[in-house]
Symmetry: C2
Subunit: 173 residues, 2 copies
DNA sequence: GTATATTAACTAGAGCTTTGATGAAAATTT
DNA sequence: AAATTTTCATCAAAGCTCTAGTTAATATAC
């Protein structure tokens, strides 16, 4: 990926970022390099706002949680699969997955059955109701996400995607 | 912010992103524009990994939670303040803040006292133990965050910061 | 001055998260 | 074949999240 180097000039964060930077220097001393910390700070701020938006406007109106949505979407992605596979794919624990599956099962959106090959294993499947629910929630979420993306230009969005892919794919230096 | 337009060429995501994109098209049809959705998908993936890293390597070894850390850091940032002010600044509910403050108080990291001016109001303050704890955790978190930032070049990190500031400061189009 | 409305903090209940423990089944070792 | 280890799923307990509702105190309206 290449950037126009002239673009790499410092710009200003908002008042809140400035206050947080002050606190960081108060904790680590005025000489400390806090760039990565402020980057992480703003990253969490932005993602928390997006997450909240999706929960308020896509998940909750449809009566499901973010975790429930991600599990249903994952089953849709990979097909009928086991709780442990879901946990691995979603970077969460099997215990959390088990708990969320309990709720989804209670609502009738997924079913559990025993694997004939390996009876330790459980196979989780979307029901018809679950599939229909997922379609509605997914459409609502996509709409909110598009609204967020509209804060950036097309080029900026592509850059953003590049940077995220780099974060996900590159090993730490 | 300006970008080198030649950099705005599509690159490839990982196998997992490709699978998710397939599922998205299965839900919305092959014509659907799922760019924003995939951007959001990768954003959550990256942030979840970072969050997990910080919890595992900075917060938990020091015996506190991410919420506890963010509250302590906020008190350090703005000084003694009320639960409702903390909730506003952290974009969370007063109920969550109250719950996290209960734990922090139990551990002796913060104190609550009544405001003389308005006795509905509570003033939350860091104890000496809380301040010392915060310094240690903050240093550990900063170290992990720097490691993450090292996955990107200096220019890329600056770009990343620009994009986050744009997301936080610009109104939806 | 009394009644209503608003505000601050908290609790209650449901859900998801974690680590750690448990039980059962499969794989491995001896 | 028998004993050990590993794997899978689940539960338990502690903590944070939310919405909704409560209590107490302040502000405003009549």
């Amino acid at each position: 990926m290449t950037f126009d180097e002239s673009a790499a000039r410092p710009t200003r964060g908002d008042a809140f970022e400035a206050t947080a930077a002050e606190a960081a220097h108060a904790l680590l001393g005025p000489e400390a390099d806090i760039f990565a910390t402020m980057l992480s700070f703003n990253l969490f701020r932005a993602v928390n706002q997006l997450q909240r938006d999706l929960e308020t406007n896509a998940y909750r109106p449809n009566g499901i949680s973010a975790a429930a949505f991600s599990i249903m979407f994952m089953i849709k992605t990979v097909g009928p699969t086991s709780p442990s596979k879901l946990a691995t794919l979603l970077s969460t624990s099997t215990a959390s997955t088990s708990s969320a599956l309990n709720t989804l099962e209670k609502y009738g959106y997924i079913t559990r059955r025993s694997d004939a090959e390996d009876s330790r294993r459980v196979i989780v499947e979307l029901t018809t109701a679950g599939d229909e629910k997922l379609i509605g929630v997914f459409a609502a979420a996509t709409e909110r996400e598009s609204l967020w993306a509209s804060r950036l230009t097309g080029t900026e969005n592509v850059m953003f995607m590049e940077l995220l892919r780099a974060l996900l794919q590159r090993r730490p230096a």
